[in-house]
């Protein structure tokens, strides 16, 4: 449904800010290991010994295809790219890299908005795209086992004819791979009811940096010992390379229907959401758009949205009678908040029109401006305060903001509008974005709800965590990847991880 979203984001960034390269911009990456760079020929030769000829790419023109992910402001071609076709091949590659002390950056489909799959010049980029088979579907036990290069949407595609679906639905679901979903613990619009990736992941086949292949979890529920599966999900490819996954699939609901409501203040919309939740209804999605966002989408998609301060789209599921029952309650609550508009969908066409603007929101914003998309989460009750503060900061920075977000779970996606052709505007926008994320942390929320830390929010980690908190996380990486070779320059501020990464290098 909302695939428009991330694609359009990537598109506008490519269009506008692709001229930014390392060194000319805020986010630093570690100095590439000169020894590794000088041994390129030997490394490539070893990789070619363990992989088919066409699975190793070392030509500098060809490796450029992998120089960035969807955070296109940052680019760096890797030393080499490998495209293994099996868990055994992944294991062989990692063994070689482990022996030769070469960092490895795993990559799903490269749709990360946080730079999770951004290469370094001294790394082997390991893409899982050739591993996209369905290995097993089991409706009686409600799971599907797939190779992790398979795209999110095609997991649902493999089971929908039989009445099932895979619940996590990140906006990039047409393109994004399960491998990346697991690495980032991806969410989507429907998490309020169905949870995020970690809640729908039952087991993985994972290859450790030294080439060890292991099965964690499986067709049963919960861990018999420590919950390593829960630890691996969301570890941004730093603990191992997940090659196969057992995913929970769910029977499709009988039907779903959205309702649209407009309010004359953000606070009122926020209060309405809280009241609906308190009343015991658990809609499958609650999406929020503020006035700048409504105006832009109206100009772009002409969905016929009311011009107001805040708009909610709420979707419920079930049989027709169940939908009626839930919507009646929701509408009754909404009426108490003096909505400027209440619009029910009588058929699929009207439902489509209600969703049209929301789904076009990111593309619409891109039509009128360059923008940066944020991903903080806040406690739902803080919504009015946070929106007010963002409005004030917007004036201070002189940059406009449009807010669109998953209101039920507090996951905000403020879009900061800027002019990439104007000197200093991108830096200003980044500073503003960092301030918004700090605000999210300040009110009890977090830096990232579903996109991941990658390199994008790496240096803000100390705003959310004390050094001891980060130390505990880095100690986990020490256990899984003692030499810090897997995706080492991500997640943790470089200064915080430096001693570990330099020990790894000195060990060569």
């Amino acid at each position: 449904m909302s695939l428009v979203l991330n694609f359009s984001l990537a598109y506008f960034r490519v269009l506008v800010i692709s001229f930014y390269q390392f060194g000319g911009y805020a986010m630093q990456m570690p100095t590439p290991d000169a020894t590794v760079l000088s041994r390129k020929a030997g490394i490539v030769a070893r990789l070619q010994e363990v992989l088919p000829r066409d699975a190793v790419i070392s030509d500098e023109m060809e490796t450029r295809a992998y120089e960035c992910d969807a955070l296109t402001a940052y680019k760096c071609p890797p030393l080499a790219v490998v495209l293994p076709a099996s868990t055994q091949e992944v294991s062989a590659v990692l063994k070689v890299c482990h022996e030769m002390g070469v960092p490895v950056v795993p990559r799903g489909s490269g749709t990360s908005l946080a730079g999770g799959a951004l290469p370094t010049a001294d790394c082997v980029l390991l893409g899982v795209a050739r591993m996209n088979d369905v290995l097993e579907t089991d409706y009686a036990n409600r799971f599907i086992r797939v190779q992790t290069g398979r795209t999110n949407l095609s997991v649902t595609g493999a089971v929908e004819a039989d009445g099932f679906f895979y619940a996590p639905d990140p906006s990039s679901q047409l393109a994004c791979a399960i491998a990346g979903n697991i690495a980032m613990n991806s969410g989507g619009a429907h998490c309020l009811k169905y949870g995020v990736t970690t809640n729908n992941l039952m087991g993985v086949t994972m290859v450790q940096m030294d080439g060890t292949i292991m099965e964690i979890g499986g067709k049963h529920l919960d861990a018999g010992g420590y919950d390593l599966l829960g630890l691996i999900c969301g570890s941004e490819g730093q603990l191992g390379v997940v090659t196969e996954a057992t995913l929970r699939i769910l029977p499709k609901p009988e039907g779903a229907r959205p309702v649209l409501m407009g309010f004359d203040a953000n606070e009122v919309a926020g209060a309405c959401v809280a009241d609906i939740i308190k009343a015991g209804v658990l809609p499958v999605a609650i999406e929020f758009m503020d006035r700048p966002c409504i105006e832009a989408t109206e100009a772009f998609a002409k969905a016929g949205y009311p011009m107001c301060e805040a708009l909610l789209i709420i979707e419920v599921e079930g049989s027709p009678a169940e939908i009626e029952e839930q919507l009646a309650l929701i509408l009754e609550i909404a009426r108490k908040h003096n909505p400027v508009e209440l619009r029910e969908a009588k058929d699929a066409d009207e439902a489509g029109r209600i969703w049209l603007g929301r789904k076009s929101a990111f593309g619409a914003m891109g039509q009128i401006n360059d923008y940066m998309c944020l991903d903080g989460t806040i406690p739902v009750a803080e919504l009015p305060y946070v929106l007010r503060r963002i409005g004030e900061m917007s004036k201070e920075y002189g940059l406009d903001v449009a807010n669109v977000f998953h209101a039920g779970d507090g996951n905000m996606h403020p879009l900061i509008l800027f002019d990439a052709n104007k000197e200093g505007d991108l830096e200003l926008c980044e500073a503003f974005g960092a301030d918004i994320l700090r605000l999210c942390v300040e009110v009890g929320g977090c830096l990232t709800g579903e996109h991941g830390v990658g390199i994008e929010k790496r240096d803000l980690m100390l705003d959310q965590f004390a050094p001891a908190d980060l130390e505990a996380q880095m100690a986990v990486k020490d256990v899984f990847d003692p030499h810090w070779l897997l995706n080492p320059a991500k997640v943790f501020p470089l200064a915080a991880s430096e001693s570990r990464r330099s020990v790894a290098l000195a060990a060569e």
């Binding site: 980690m461 996380q473 986990v476």
Partner: protein, 367 residues
């Protein structure tokens, strides 16, 4: 030891000279050598926002206090934590820290997730006495590694929880239970799979080979708004038109029945060891038959098998290799937790060494 604050707890751990046995309410049957550290002094709900579906509590807060606070707002802990007292013959008041440390989930685990799926954040003190926080109090959070999952179900061996942040859910308006009489274990597992694969949101699927009246009964729970529950329970019952189907529509009776399943009441006061086997649901009946149990109870559509066996029975040896794990819940003489394959055991050991370098927290229990 009974610290009143997190800082005091951290000091106690930092200066501990030997093993520490961590205790919440002491209801989950953990009894180990070492100085007992009670968390009961760290008590109280620190934040509850019904509109945000979140609750924060200190780890020693009695579960009953949390459930009462939630109930007053028409909400609940959806993962339906089991009460171990009847099964283990323990007394005391279960604490929320104990629930999280043991990842205690009930019948609804099959539909909404385990305890670990509802823990949004934790604060804990590791084995060196360092205070650490992870996660937060929001529903979507991918900032850094998810140590919340690691701490959930680590039984106090990686750190002593001091505070937990929970996602809570609305309590449904009503509930009904579709009952099928007389099924064999294998047929019951099939029926439960069919119900769980339907779009009617079955929130519990259990089978008792010998029910209260001495006959097998299969239970399928439906929860929600009244109209919806009436509709869905009829639909689910309709899936089994050729069987002996009844629908229990009295919510109090439904609640009682599921508490009976949740707490494995059928085994209360009965002799022998009790094992909990997590397995692939459709293989459950066949697998359970290998145990040679004196009594069985199937939950999670067959994905969870409770087995009561003669004391000292090596159930793992009888099960052989299977996709899943067996935990000894009541009894002794066997390892409590399923031994792990070498590569995973190495990781567990490594984590244990990092989080508790001296090996003082609940020594010998896990990892």
């Amino acid at each position: 030891m009974r610290p009143e604050t997190e800082a005091e707890l951290a000091d106690m751990i930092a200066s501990a000279s030997g093993p520490v046995c961590v205790r919440g309410g002491g209801t989950r049957g953990v009894s180990l050598d070492g100085s007992v550290l009670e968390t009961g002094g760290l008590s109280g709900i620190t934040l509850y926002e019904p509109g945000s579906l979140t609750l924060v509590a200190q780890s020693g807060t009695p579960l009953a206090e949390i459930e009462a606070a939630l109930d007053a707002e028409g909400q609940r802990l959806a993962f339906e934590p089991m009460d171990h007292r009847g099964l283990l013959g323990t007394s005391g008041a279960p604490t929320i820290g104990g629930v999280v440390a043991a990842n205690v989930s009930g019948p609804r685990r099959v539909s909404v997730g385990a305890c670990r799926d509802f823990v949004l954040g934790v604060r804990y003190v590791d084995g060196a006495g360092t205070i650490v926080k992870n996660g937060g109090r929001v529903m979507k959070n991918v900032t850094g590694y998810d140590l919340v999952k690691l701490m959930s179900g680590s039984w106090g061996t990686l750190g002593v929880l001091t505070e937990v942040n929970l996602k809570v859910l609305p309590k449904p308006e009503t509930a009904a239970c579709v009952l099928i009489d007389g099924l064999s274990d294998a047929d019951a597992v099939q029926a439960m799979a069919k119900a769980l694969a339907s779009p009617f949101e079955v929130s519990g699927a259990a089978h008792i080979p010998v029910g209260l009246d001495g006959h097998p009964v299969t239970m399928l729970r439906i929860e929600g708004f009244a109209g919806s529950v009436a509709y869905r329970s009829d639909q689910v019952a309709g899936l089994f038109g050729d069987m002996a189907v009844r629908v229990e529509r009295d919510p109090a009776a439904v609640a009682k029945g599921w508490a009976w399943v949740r707490d494995v009441e059928a085994f209360h006061g009965q002799p022998g060891d009790v094992w909990r086997v997590s397995c692939t649901p459709t293989g459950a009946a066949e697998l359970a038959a290998t145990i040679g149990a004196e009594a069985l109870l199937y939950d999670w559509g067959g994905g969870l098998v409770w087995a009561r066996v003669a004391a000292g029975t090596d159930v793992r040896a009888r099960l052989g290799a299977f996709d899943g794990h067996a935990t000894l819940v009541r009894g002794s003489g066997q390892a409590k937790f399923q031994p792990e394959p070498a590569a995973i055991a190495a990781l567990s050991r490594g984590l244990r060494l990092k989080f508790d370098p001296e090996g003082i927290l609940n020594t010998g229990l896990m990892g």
